[in-house]
Subunit: 409 residues, 2 copies
């Protein structure tokens, strides 16, 4: 694996105190899938009555685990569910053998928990193209089941880390008319990294009572505004997976109409999504790209991603260079509608360019000072309509090259 020498400078001060979610238990173990001296498998057991929703990578070369999860996620069941995740091996591009490993792990977990195999979800993250040593995982399933306990989410978050420089957790408590509900989740992912392909794995739980259909709608919609709006290097994992379970243990019913719950849930999604960006390889800056005034929201998103994925923009940010010319370039190349003379560009609250030229009020030292901040907002108004989008990214540094190039497989 590539060596990570230190924790990201953008890492939060500490892992949050995740609340216990009634109906959810965690266990983690060191199975020796690839790493020595650390836990590398986590099991989450969800009580009967839990509804499960998920979203997955759109990659055409997605892993066996993802294909299996997608085939099961739509099912209605009161039997509860299990999620088992290993790090160290992504079981991606392992041909038919990969499908066999997933089936073997699901069978073992079903046997040990009494769940139907259709309610066992798996994720794998780590090296690709190597046969998953699933026997090592299966050998630990009984230990995992015996160790299940509430409030071990922090240990689970650590067990699924690959080259992450810090574990990622987020939570919220929501007071609703029917009572209080809790949300807690954790994630792994640090941009793409060899030989791991930066699988982003996210697991979020709540004790709210939500129908599967409503939960899936919430997860899909909020995912589009959070995890689908972050980019580290424009590359896409074959294994990205987000699973959410609603145990209903609080007895508090939640529907799509409950905006307070949706808002709190979006806060948790965004917190985790931003932590993934802040653990981007070699990242030293966290960048928010706001695009407004595009012809459509889709155009705004196209412009925002063109800016966020531009190596020239990302290296300029790394160099603390207020290089607005590269923003113009990125907008121009995006393919979405734009007019050079209608663009307005701001770094933070500093007006940089307008009317097709640098703003008369702009002072280079103002832009330069702004770019020295660890968190930077780039705002572009296209001046053509009402379409808007926000995406988040990090800078492109020598650290990224070191992690991804200064390595031999």
């Amino acid at each position: 694996m590539a060596k990570i020498t230190s924790v990201s400078p953008l890492a939060p001060a500490a892992f949050p105190e995740l609340p216990v979610i009634d109906g959810v238990r965690f266990a983690s173990v060191a199975a020796g899938v690839r790493y020595a001296g650390r836990t590398d498998v986590m099991l989450t057991l969800l009580d009967p009555g839990t509804t499960v929703a998920g979203v997955f990578t759109r990659s055409a070369t997605r892993s066996a685990n993802v294909l299996d999860c997608q085939s099961k996620i739509g099912g209605e069941s009161d039997a509860g569910a299990a999620i088992i995740v290993n790090s160290g091996n992504s079981n991606a591009f392992t041909g038919k053998a990969g499908d066999g490993s997933v089936a073997a792990i699901c069978a073992a977990v079903a046997k040990a928990t009494g769940l139907p195999e259709t309610r066992v979800f798996t994720s794998s993250t780590g090296v690709i193209g190597e046969r998953l040593p699933h026997d090592r995982i299966i050998a630990k399933v009984d230990d995992l089941v015996a160790a299940l306990a509430p409030g071990k989410g922090d240990e689970a978050a650590r067990a699924i880390m690959t080259t992450d420089t810090f574990p990622k957790g987020a939570c919220a408590t929501v007071a609703l008319p029917g009572g209080e509900v809790k949300i807690a989740g954790f994630a792994k992912g640090s941009g793409m990294i060899a030989p791991d392909m930066a699988t982003m794995l996210v697991y979020i739980f709540t004790d709210a009572k939500v129908s599967r259909a409503d939960l899936q709608t919430m997860v899909s919609e909020i995912n589009d505004r959070s995890f689908n709006c972050i980019t580290v290097d424009s590359d896409t994992s074959t294994s990205d997976t987000l699973l959410m379970g609603a145990t209903g243990a609080s007895g508090v019913e939640v529907t799509l109409a409950d905006s307070d719950f949706a808002q709190a849930l979006e806060g948790v999604f965004l917190d985790l999504a931003h932590q993934v960006v802040k653990d981007g390889e070699g990242a030293t800056k966290f960048v928010t790209v706001n695009v407004t005034g595009a012809k459509t929201d889709a155009d705004a998103r196209t412009h925002a991603l063109a800016i966020a994925n531009s190596p020239l923009v990302k290296t300029a940010v790394a160099g603390e260079d207020p290089n607005w010319g590269r923003i113009v370039m990125a907008v121009g190349k995006s393919g979405a509608a734009a007019d050079r003379d209608r663009l307005t560009i701001r770094f933070g609250d500093v007006l940089v360019a307008e009317n097709g030229w640098v703003a008369p009020s702009y002072k280079e030292e103002d832009g330069a000072a702004l770019m020295k901040q660890p968190e930077i907002t780039i705002s572009v108004d296209i001046g053509l309509g009402a379409g808007k989008a926000t995406v988040w990214t990090c800078d492109l540094t020598h650290g990224y090259i070191s992690i991804n190039a200064d390595y031999r497989s």
Copy 2:
């Protein structure tokens, strides 16, 4: 400007001996647009009867010069033509003032040459967002006209360099039934670089007699297979321009039916296009990406560009890492049709992966040895159809980051 400390390791041994093209004269001068102690303006004069064709950037924020060239390129005229190019300032994103600079330069060249302004083409490359000091260029126009001489293409090629580490030239001689014709051209471009936006400028001349319509068709079609198939960092200049002039001085008529001429011309286009990639910022490897077996040629191109633009693939090449997993990832994310289990991947002639898994015959040391070469071919067969495409790129190294980030504007 970013400092270029040395010539690209991929540079050709020497600038070619460009043949004199009858009907074409060059001059270059030091006008002090931005750089000191070097030439920075070149003038090319094309004799009456010359047909001119061109292709330009598709950027929505293209420069004033490009917009002016596009408005003139379709015109039929026997008056001859002039091309004046400055380095040091791209006249891009300079608002209405940029249009004024172009008009002023065209008027001065028209006055000094007796050409109509509609036959004066301009290009500018260099810093963006700063008003072009066109008076400095206009002040040298008479000197340029007085200095016009055949066979000064090599000096012209040097005058238009910005951060290029070597001048780029190519030529061919074609024996046709009607007699021999010559082709000579030069280019500048080195991938994107701050504050220059890697404008790629290409000027190609022939003494063949070609109708404007046929010349434009040849240029457009060959451009799609050459300059439109190279990528350094996926970013797109606001000023990319290719102009070709056919003087007809040889008296040898050429039409679209003359495949020998078209083949020789494509060779010149490809030679120059490859030289631009080999001067890519920080490039240490020249990479050819061949995609076959896609559903359509368009799908093949989408896959090929996804591979060629993937930071993970490019850093793996920089690290001489035969990381075929990243090729799978890039194909998967491209959005074009693919099937994990039908992919075949080769590095050079080494079969790496097939049937959704690493090839049984593959030895890591074979792939590693292949990746140590300065020129690498990555071949992917999608296994779904007959669509194919080839693109060329370079690796992504610390040099790229140094050039683009370790710089303050």
